[in-house]
Symmetry: C2
Subunit: 220 residues, 2 copies
Amino acid sequence: MSENTARLRADARRNREQIIATAREVFLEQGIHAPLEEVARRAGVGIATLYRRFPDRHTLVQQVALDSLTLVGEELAHATATHPDAWGALVQLIRRLVELRLSVIMPVLLPGLEEDARGEGGALKARRNQLFEQMQQLTRTAQQEGQLRRGINPIDIWLGVIKLSRPLPVIGAELNGLIIDQQLELFLGSLHATALDASEPLRRQPLTLDELDRHLKMAE
Amino acid sequence: MSENTARLRADARRNREQIIATAREVFLEQGIHAPLEEVARRAGVGIATLYRRFPDRHTLVQQVALDSLTLVGEELAHATATHPDAWGALVQLIRRLVELRLSVIMPVLLPGLEEDARGEGGALKARRNQLFEQMQQLTRTAQQEGQLRRGINPIDIWLGVIKLSRPLPVIGAELNGLIIDQQLELFLGSLHATALDASEPLRRQPLTLDELDRHLKMAE
DNA sequence: CCTAAATGGAGGATAATCCTTCGTTTGCTG
DNA sequence: CAGCAAACGAAGGATTATCCTCCATTTAGG
């Protein structure tokens, strides 16, 4: 597949990438059963082009997942490169992942792992496991630093980010963003090993009921 | 509407309640756009019965929401009645809400608040606000006890529970349950004000990658 | 400038879901 | 316990959403 990709004409390759990027967004918003026509439309591409490149929905999902894993790997590398301490890197990585809403295809990705292992030489599974190893290294170091709470593993973080990123249905993107920001701080707090006590409140502007209603009204 | 309900024949009232309870489950799993025929089937009721009682989807959603708010109120009352301390009550309430997956209709509920305010005398909004007041009382007391971290309000908890409860798509109910349990402990940890440090790990059996894969294989 | 590659959109096929109609069953009241 | 109004379920036509192929046209690149 990757060799095929290299032999594509320039415009075709551009479109292919655009489709994957758009699909990630759309799948995030609507789930993997979102109409492919919407993906095509928002990617600025004819529906036929999408089907030519990805014969069925499953292939597209697979590629989106692979692409996302690559992106996560890049973010991880960047975070560790720019932070001397593991905890700092971890926090940045988490923030970034949430920001990009990258993890959303992951639950979707998982059930495909088995057949992936047969079909494509397990590219997906291998990449996931590698990523997991890297994250484990990061979390262990952060724990040795005394910053990351013990008993927390990459899976906790991974799943936490997935849950966080996942937008709630019906309410708009803007309100969802607000909520995610709020909950993200809470989540980071739950990972941190530094002593907390009731006299040290979380540092953030909490959401009020009025604010919530105002946003809902706007979305209406 | 509530007067109408009282005048229903006994079997009709039973069915009505069964439909609402089932709808809560189905909406939880599939979102509010789930086919109503599935709701009817799983409620053990003909599709006509559902349409007779709830002329359109919106009415059903509204009623499910109202019903859920009532249930939450009951759980809250029960939790405070059986716990001398506010923190204990809060923790039980949260566990229970997550367990019942009660909060899932809430995001769905919210956008209806405005028209609800016009349509039915704002029963929905009034009940929500009342619930919010009660929870605020509980959280404030828990903070005075020095147990609940400062800066946390009922909305944080509410939204946290919603995000927690919401099952991930594609993967089965069982794995979802596991994940929710794991993340719940993390969430509770983020609310607690008691000093933590790296030497005191979370008390739970963490999820491993192998376990995750095993479950996925089973679901396949 | 020429050709193979790539494109887009129309539209028939299929599937999902809606929601009404109607003959049958059942709770309840007198 | 009888009779009637209320309630029921299932079938199926109407509607809508989505799929995905076909083919005339455009474009990249040697």
